[in-house]
Symmetry: C2
Subunit: 216 residues, 2 copies
DNA sequence: ACTTGAAAACTGACCCGTCAGTCATATTAT
DNA sequence: ATAATATGACTGACGGGTCAGTTTTCAAGT
């Protein structure tokens, strides 16, 4: 603490503290919302988990809704940046098959095998009650994910690696291709106690079947 | 009403009325729960929708939880019977591919393209809060569905129609195979306003990719 | 360095609308 | 007549949101 204090001249200590609080609250919110679901989560629980009082919580977020929305935003945006940069790094070097494998594994590792997978469940659970969050999620996460997958598949078709499935593109091709991942996340959260799955080998199964269905 | 009243001797009118009430309540419950989600649904809304008072509702179901559980049971069990009988009818006549197509289309037609698809979303949304309902759903619906699909795939492997994917069986094969359908239902409920899908052609895409991945 | 005082940050008891569940009373069927 | 059904006003717990009061931070004055 003593070493890294000369950040910015004047107002900075307060600012840094404030920023840290924000992060703490977001983390607490994800934890509580993931555990209890939106409706059953109490603002008191989030405050406790973040180590602050309820009053302070309301200094950072105007309402429970705003907290939920803010949590989704701040947990998802960094991931998209990371995805974008990893895509740039590997551009043009790999076959379509390897590119697909690479992205699929990235998705499983950074979303499904993380706390973030609970966000997906929450969107599904609360989506109809929060149309603007569903829209936000679609715009920032899903549409970009589907666009990336579509690009890979088209690349594979161009190279002759994949058979020509372009006429399925507007009829659920991408949703079908990604579906395995979504179901893995949901299964892990809900049905794992009854029939556990191992995400690592599940991912390979998904790739196996999907590539089998795509390859020329 | 006047025509079909000579059912059973004495107490029967009351009994029939009671049974009809039960059905009305279940239908109302599905409608309201599907629209508002479990937590935001009010018992008053269900009562209104069923055309009875709240007090009467409590003569049929002890609590909101019991109503939810009862609704899931009574909406799902008839479907399973229907599935069972349709399976018996077509036994041994078809190739594995045709059997898979047949069952997939049954699933899309009788679950996904129906009010019942909301039940799946509700299970996902509320599963963690209702472990016994999640277990019930797994035991009565999922485990039977997965068993049926597994049987078809094994049948296809035996006949030489499908490549040998039996070592993937314990690693998510069935979940991957069915995932497209689940995602279709969720997408239709949540993201359809932003990017609509047509279930009919979506089903064909699902079959196309899945069979491509399975065939020898 | 050391007060000082005012603004910023924080607190938690309290307020108040909501809704699951109850029950005294009314209605209907036999 | 009377038992079975149905009703809806009522209760009490619960939790989102508020705010008067307390503590902390920090810059300006000495």
């Amino acid at each position: 603490m003593a070493l890294i204090e000369t950040r910015t001249p004047a107002e900075s200590r307060r600012e840094a503290r404030k920023e840290q609080r924000r992060v703490d609250i977001i983390d607490a919110a994800l934890k509580v919302f993931a555990r209890d679901g939106f409706a059953l989560s109490k603002m008191d629980s989030v405050a406790d988990e973040a180590g602050i009082s309820k009053g302070t919580l309301y200094l950072y977020f105007d309402s429970k809704d705003a907290l939920f929305e803010g949590m989704v935003r701040e947990k998802m945006l960094p991931l998209l940046d990371k995805l974008q940069s990893e895509i740039l790094e590997t551009e043009g070097e790999l076959s379509a098959e390897d590119t697909l494998r690479f992205h699929m594994r990235f998705f499983y590792r950074n979303v499904l095998n993380t706390d973030r997978r609970h966000i997906m469940r929450l969107i599904i659970a609360e989506g109809p009650n929060f149309p603007h969050i569903a829209k936000f999620y679609y715009d920032t996460v899903l549409s970009k994910g589907t666009a990336a997958f579509k690009a890979i598949i088209n690349y594979g078709i161009e190279r002759g690696e994949f058979r020509d499935v372009s006429d399925l593109s507007g009829h659920g091709l991408i949703q079908v291709a990604m579906a395995g991942g979504l179901v893995a996340a949901l299964w892990k959260t809900i049905f794992d106690p009854f029939e556990p799955i191992d995400l690592e080998s599940y991912c390979e199964t998904h790739l196996n079947i999907l590539l089998g269905g795509l390859k020329a």
